[in-house]
Structure formats: C-alpha cells, structure tokens
Subunit: 276 residues, 2 copies
C-alpha cells in the first residue's frame, strides 16, 4: 500500500485514526465512491483536534485510498490492482523458475561463518562447523519484495560461487552441487521490519512482514539449507488450495498438490492489512 518508506502519518493519534479509516476501507465498510464524515465530525467523534484528523486524511490521500476536494468532501477511491507475487505452497519450484525470469536479485552478503544457535541446531551441525551465510533481496520490476537469509553447510556451499548465487536460485545450485533434496520443514510467522530489512525492502520501519523459515534436508536426513525469509505482504502472498479428505469420523484438510494457480498476480487486490 503506497510504499510509505517514510511514515506518511506522524504522531500516534493521527496514525491511529489513519489505521481505523484505512481498515474501514479495506474491509469494504467504506466502499469506493462513499463519502467519509467531514473533518470536524471526525474530530468530534475521536475527541481530537481537527489538525489531527487532517493528518490522517492526508495520509489516506497520499496512499491513494481517497480523493479530497474542497466543498465536496473526502471520497473513497477505486483501487488499482497492485502487482503481487503469489506463491503457491504446492507448486514452489515451477513458480520460482518462472519468477526468476522476471525478477532480479541483490546479493547483500556472502561469507563463511561459524554456525551458531538455532541454525546449527536445526541443520544438525556439530559445534565449530562452518556455514556459508548469504543475504539476498529479490526484486520484481525493480521493486524488492523479499529479504532472504540463507545458511548452507560449507561443504555444499563451496560447490558454487558468489556470482552463481546472484544469478541462480539457491535451489538449482544445491541440485547442481550433487545434493539430493528430499524433504523440508516450513514455518510461517509474522515479524516487524527492522532498520536493515526496512531499508532493503524499501518500506517503513515497523511495517508488518511475512516471516518464513525453511529447513531443507537431503535423503540422508542431513540439513542442507536453512532459510529465513521476510516478505512484503503487499507484494507477496502465500497461497494454498485445500481439499477435504478422510471419512466422516476423521476429516481433514489436505493441501492440493501440483495445482497450477489460476490468476497469477492479476487479481489479489491492492488491499494489504486487515489489521484492527
């Protein structure tokens, strides 16, 4: 939603009102074409000054959510679709290959370090073993959408170069290095953008990000890749198709495997949050 690399709304009260209105719009409570209450009325309702309401409203306009005209009022605008990368869980690699064609990568870091903490533990490494740590930012149409921190055991990582990593998906590099990928564990969470990641992803500190952790194992059960990924929710979505399986007693959702997604980015609407 409108990059907002610098927080367009200053102050806590103003920001609070901004969020409330933004949510009302995102949820459809205020549909495109609807007129918002006047500044005075909103100031009264929220028990703040008109200046404060004004800041919130101007932020909405900057974000392209509303249009304001003197004498008329503030009306909700029709939203242009934002181009969003959609990842289907059941169809990861083909998507990635497709994506690689249209996307670029910035390699922010590439070095060998000693494995520590969770990384060492989850990859099943011994104390003192070294890993290749890399940080990449992936861009689509020159707009960054993901921040990827990977750790790969040294013995595997030595099979490819820094240049390789800047060009080729890590996945392909692993295969090329003779690794037979077998299974992976993936956890999805959420996180706030810190100073580093905010800069890399070109958004405001404190923005919400999708946090994904994936540990990949080969056929021997040895860990071959540890990924910590952060995604901009307005440019990246994780999508799943589920079907119902099992009999009466024990029904459950079963992810639909290998189903090519219908609409690529196209639909997906520019609405992000849904907070509040």
């Amino acid at each position: 939603m409108a990059d907002e690399a610098r927080p367009s709304v200053t102050g806590v009260k103003a920001h609070r009102i901004f969020l409330l209105l933004k949510e009302a719009i995102a949820s459809g409570a205020l549909a495109p074409g609807d007129r918002l209450p006047g500044e005075l009325k909103l100031a009264e309702q929220h028990e703040v000054s008109r200046v404060t309401v004004r800041r919130a409203m101007e932020a909405l306009r900057e974000a392209g959510l509303v249009a304001r005209r003197p004498g008329v009022g503030t009306v909700v605008q029709e939203q242009p679709m934002a181009s969003t990368v959609t990842a289907s869980v059941s169809n990861l690699l083909p998507n990635m290959v497709r994506m690689s064609a249209a996307s670029n990568v910035r390699l922010l870091e590439f070095r060998y370090v000693e494995a520590t903490g969770v990384v060492r533990e989850r990859l099943g490494l011994k104390a003192g073993e070294r890993v290749q740590r890399s940080i990449r930012v992936r861009l689509m149409d020159d707009k960054p959408f993901s921040y990827l921190v990977t750790h790969v055991p040294e013995r595997i990582a030595l099979q490819y170069t820094e240049a390789d990593l800047a060009r080729t998906p890590l996945f392909a590099l692993l295969e090329r290095s003779g690794v037979t990928v077998d299974r992976a564990t993936q956890t999805i969470s959420a996180a706030l953008a810190g100073p580093e990641t905010a800069r890399a992803l070109e958004l405001a500190e404190g923005s919400a990000l999708i946090a994904l952790n994936r540990v990949v194992f080969d056929q021997t059960g040895a860990g071959v890749e540890h990924l910590d990924a952060l995604y901009r929710p307005d440019r990246y979505r994780i999508q799943m198709e589920l079907t119902r399986a099992g009999d009466e007693a024990e029904r459950y959702w079963e992810p639909l495997a290998g189903e090519p997604l219908a609409g690529e980015p196209a639909a997906a609407g520019a609405r992000a949050s849904g907070g509040g």
Copy 2:
C-alpha cells in the same frame, strides 16, 4: 510474556524499538543468555539517541524479558515456556478438534449484515444478500491467540445459534447444517495490530500478526465461509512438512498430507492446533 496491553513505552520511536527487540527475543533470534548490543550501538543502528534506546530497554526489563546490569550489559532472560499453538496445514481438522477441548472462545460479535466488497465477491453472493458476521477470539490457557472474523451466507448461518458458535467450531456447525465442504482457498499474509485487535489479543498496537484468509466452498462451488484470521506469532505458528516430487525437469515441493508432526517446540502439551 508480560502482555503489555498498555504500552509501557512512551514515544513512537522508543516503542518501535521495544517491539523489534521483543520480537527478536520471541522468535529466538536472541536466545536466553545472549547479550544485546549496547545502548550506544543500538542508538547508532536505529539512528536515534541513547535516551530513546534506553526507554525501550527499560520497557523490556519491566516486561521481564531481559536483565540489565551496569558494566555487564543487557542479557535475555530465560522465559517461562510460552505455550504455542502450532497449526499443521496438512492436518487441520483433527488438530482442531483436539484443540477445542483445551481452548475457550470469546464471542465478540454476532449479527447479520448485508454482504459487501470482497466478502460478497469471494463468496460469490449477489448484491443485497445477507451474511452472518461473527468475531471470535480464541484462547489457550486464558491467553488469546487468534482473532477470527467470519462471514457465512445467511441461509446456512440460520441453522445454528449464537450459543452454538461460542461452543462449537464453525467447521462442525457447517457440517451439521448439511453443508458438504469440498475445497478451500487460503492466503497467508501479515498485518499490524490495530486498536481493536490489539485489545482483543492483549498486545500492543503495532505488533506484527499473522493474517490468514480462507474461503471455503461446498461441492456445488458455492462459498460457505469467509474467514479473516489474525494470529499472535508468539502463540501460534503455521507449520508445513514438504517433500520433493516430480521428475528432473519439473520438480516441485509437495506438501506432506496427514503427517503427524515430529519434534515439537518441546514440552508441556501446550500444543494443539487448528484454524477458524
């Protein structure tokens, strides 16, 4: 994890730094025993004054997350096991049933409204059709972890009562209402906690939340449920086991269906799972 329903931190910048550090601790990026960077270093990193960093750090101490000692530094404290609900995508319903036993529900809203915007569109309803809108908060050990907004077409929702919804998972109610659930589309994103959700989930405004949207369809392809869920990432995780499938040319990840999860965040039976 010291709920901090009222932000103990004054100021926006200080509060943001507080949230970032808190999250780093919650996620395990900063493990118990680890030393945080010094106040000066943090001030530099975040481009703020030391006073501001200080406010954030003191809030962390108040929250019991860190211990601070002059001459030593600020170290992450051992945390009393936060009970985390882990949802396995491939195993939704059985988990949900298990969970229902150990968890409570607060019903915040239950009313019938006209379907608008995305909800109407995604459920495939005609203009003017009505839906039953409900807001529920799910709790585990009296601690809220999810905020669920559901929309169900009126004709289906009339088959169950408000009391039913406060007791029984919506899923079971749909089945009981004669609906044959067939498939669902699920999208995972991230969002910030707004005023409403922050209060309901007992955390600070501006915290990061997992945002999940699910649209459920019956065998005729008609939409029967629209769920917008927000989860506290420190109390809820979405987990997936993936295996590699396909041949050389077109390999892809395939979610492992029905696989009971192996090693879990350790002890204390604090694991259940499920969705809306």
